[in-house]
Amino acid sequence: MKRRDTIKTLLIGGLGTGAMLTGCKQDGSDIDTNSVVPNIDANNLYGRTPEEAKVDAALHAQPSDFTKEELGVIAILCDIILPKSETAGSATDAGVPAFIDFMVKDIPDNKLPLKGGLMWLNTESNKRFSKIFSELTEAQRIEIIDDIAYPDDATAAMKPGVVFFNRMRDLTLSGYYTSKMGIEDLGYQGNRPNTWDGVPEDVLKQHGLVYEPEWIAKCVDNDKRNEIAVWDDDGNLLT
């Protein structure tokens, strides 16, 4: 931006406050929007406003809503829900318990159902095996889980467990498939610059679908995407 422009382009929070930020550097180079929020390493950011960054810092600083024992049971359940597979790590490998711990702070409505559910699970374990859940054998744990993991088959007495396990399943799947490991396991290929040129031919074929020539004739010719658009008076694209 030219010097002349910098003079006329003021970024003002309110005149007369002494807090007048100019949108331009003194040397007349381009707008320096970073001057609004100083000295932050952009690489570690996820686009928070200063107010949001404060909220998140406070959430991180807040102690966990769970005891160490409760977090242990969450980890066990996470790995029952998503154990290691032949090609990918388990839910705990992907850091899901820490994610759940954070989401309980972020969405406090999660807290009571999860803490209550964990207690329900221990009560049920005690009823059946006179031990808390974490002390059960794997077979004993699965016996209980099988009674709460299939809502349509569950007995009335198991309903609180079903509701709890549904929530654990939701959070575990979400935590896992939004992690780097989970996204790779899922096979998502996007979030990188590219030039979309339609579904690959063999995928279309597999689904018995085709691109009709009339439709494709309307679509973008990516070889010409960098040529500046020019139209005739009737709106026909000439470039």
């Binding site: 949108g23 686009g47 998503l82 597979s85 972020d106 896992y176 899922l186």
Partner: protein
């Protein structure tokens, strides 16, 4: 508290920096005028790495994109939402309205769906066709030249279809459909529902040297760092700053009211500086309100004076009335044909659908007067918080017991990924005098400014339209062999109608008209009651068809701003 006055008198003050304000700033600055743009939120540039969310992965944030802090997910680029701390609004008993605001340079254009539809000739004269609502004082022929100019300045992809009420424009070429969109095309045609390439303001092709070309990340809602989508800041405000005129940008500045003199003419605006919490006055020859339909109505109603006892521009009593949002109803389904699909390619595409269905029905044969279009979503999108929720309901579509755990569940998730499709109907709600916003007599916001109270109900027109949407969706699901994820909502669930305001197309609160007793502005969006005050947001809309309102806001703001330049030159204002 003493109000701090500025000595400078601007040619124009523009209140708000969204679509309407941005366009007005561009046109007035291009004409060499000396203007102030006053925005309630902070400065924002989509390419600033500090605030940028484009290209972030869900795992870059501990909440993985959840909507706990921003209504459309934490990477969505709208600072604000339905509820803003310190800026409440109320509703009258038994009615509902949700008011979405975005406090930042560019306003809601930083996150919107970029669906850029022209109103058709019938849409300006709907009363003449079905007797409901009112005709506009202008017609398609008045707006067409401006739609043309907006197309060329900002860029919109689409295709020439020669449909009578969905006019063609100067289009960039559209992207090819995604896989689920091809399935949709097939099904819709079986039912005789037209499908055409969507019309979105995203650059599939270069339009100038200042803006980039789409890199197909599907993240327009995060505001594009290479300026390949239309956001008001990057496409209008920044270019305005580089043009002939002088643009002073006031951010974090909340306008309370318009000041007027003894003759009733506007002299400027009063605003609060959020940084020092002091009140200031800015002066200008012309005041242009672009604070959103309800925001501008609120400013007018708060601008009471001896000359304007009911609020500025409100001698007719019409300010705030005829508020209407688009109707919306939606449903989702699993397409068995797309289970176990190959995922080894990037299907992000542009930020939004590549195909859509414009309204096809003949309303004379239906029990509701106005149409809707169908928006389509689905595909191999980036997971974020909420992904994988509800598997206890979904797994039944895979032919085995719903619920479960372990590597069977892992396979279920992967099998279903990319196999769902969703439809959103977006329809025209008929403007009614008894749907309105007004000042709440008791409540103020944190700046002491009286807040809005909303009164909004649906009529049978909207309910019957939503019922038709749901019937259509069910037929479409059947035609593609898809299984609905939820039963179509019935009468008890209002046929799935979104709450008023939830579609975020609220318009109509300062309607234009030729009769000063029945309208707030004339056909150039100039107040009947104060010749140097203009409204360039969606307030002056008489109706809004089933077409998303932004492209028409832009065209009309350009038209009104041309008129302002002309009237200033002629010294009429």
């Amino acid at each position: 508290m003493q109000i701090i006055e500025q000595p400078k008198v601007y040619d124009a003050i523009i209140v708000g920096s969204g679509a309407g304000g941005g366009m007005s700033a561009k046109v007035l600055a291009d004409a060499g005028l000396n203007i102030a743009v006053v925005e309630a939120g902070p400065y924002f540039d989509p390419k600033d790495p500090v605030t940028q969310t484009q290209w972030k992965w869900p795992y870059d944030s501990p909440r993985r994109g959840s909507s706990s802090k921003r209504d459309f997910g934490e990477y969505d680029m709208a600072y604000g939402g339905w509820d803003i701390e310190g800026e409440p609004y109320t509703t009258t008993e038994g009615t509902e309205f949700k008011w979405f605001r975005s406090r930042m340079l560019g306003g809601r254009t930083n996150h919107w769906g970029r669906i850029s539809l022209r109103f058709g000739p019938k849409d300006f004269k709907a009363k003449s066709i079905d007797g409901r609502g009112d005709d506009w004082p202008i017609g398609y022929e008045d707006v067409k030249p401006y739609y043309d100019k907006v197309d060329k300045l900002i860029g919109v992809f689409g295709s020439k279809e020669r449909l009578p009420n969905d006019p063609d424009g100067f289009f960039l070429p559209p992207p090819k459909p995604r896989l689920h969109e091809l399935v949709y095309i097939k099904a819709a045609r079986k039912l005789g529902i037209p499908v055409i390439p969507s019309r979105l303001s995203i650059l599939t092709k270069r339009i100038n040297k200042d803006r980039g070309v789409c890199i197909y990340c599907q993240q327009c809602a995060r505001s594009c760092s290479v300026y390949a989508d239309f956001s008001s800041g990057s496409c209008l405000i920044f270019p305005a700053q580089k043009s002939r005129g002088q643009v002073d940008l006031f951010v974090n500045s909340m306008v309370r009211s318009v000041s007027t003199d003894k003759s009733g003419k506007a002299t400027g605006v009063y605003y609060f500086n959020k940084e020092d919490r002091k009140e200031y006055q800015l002066r200008a020859k012309v005041v242009v309100l672009a604070a959103s339909a309800c925001g501008s109505a609120r400013i007018l109603l708060n601008s009471k004076s001896a000359q304007h006892p009911q609020g500025l521009g409100n001698s007719s009593g019409v300010v705030g009335k005829y508020l209407h949002d688009s109707t919306g109803s939606s449903n989702m389904a699993i397409i068995p044909e797309l289970l176990d699909r190959r995922k080894d390619y990037n299907e992000d595409g542009v930020g939004g659908m590549h195909v859509y269905s414009p309204w096809w029905g003949d309303n004379k044969k239906l029990n509701f007067a106005r149409g809707y279009h169908i928006e389509i979503w689905g595909g191999l999108g980036m997971p974020s918080y909420g992904f994988g929720f509800g598997m206890e309901r979904m797994a039944k579509h895979l032919g085995h017991k719903a619920g479960g755990y372990g590597n069977v569940l892992r396979d279920d998730v992967k099998r279903m990924y990319g196999a769902s499709i969703g439809f959103g109907g977006r329809g025209e709600c008929i403007a009614r005098e008894d749907n309105y916003c007004e000042l709440d007599p008791e409540k103020v916001d944190e700046f002491g400014i009286p807040v809005l109270r909303f009164n909004y109900t649906f009529s049978d027109q909207e309910l019957m339209q939503a019922k038709h949407m749901q019937q259509t969706f069910s037929e479409l699901f059947d035609a593609m062999g898809a299984k609905a994820l939820w039963p179509a909502p019935g009468k008890e669930g209002n046929y799935g109608l979104n709450k008023p305001g939830e579609i975020i197309h609220e318009v109509g609160t300062t309607r234009m008209g030729n009769d000063p007793n029945k309208s707030v502005t004339n056909k150039f969006q100039q107040l009947h009651d104060a010749k140097n005050v203009f409204i360039v947001d969606a307030g002056p809309f008489v109706s809004q068809a089933d077409k998303n309102c932004t492209w028409t806001i832009l065209a009309l703001s350009w038209r009104a701003s041309d008129y302002i330049v002309d009237q200033l030159k002629k010294q009429n204002i």
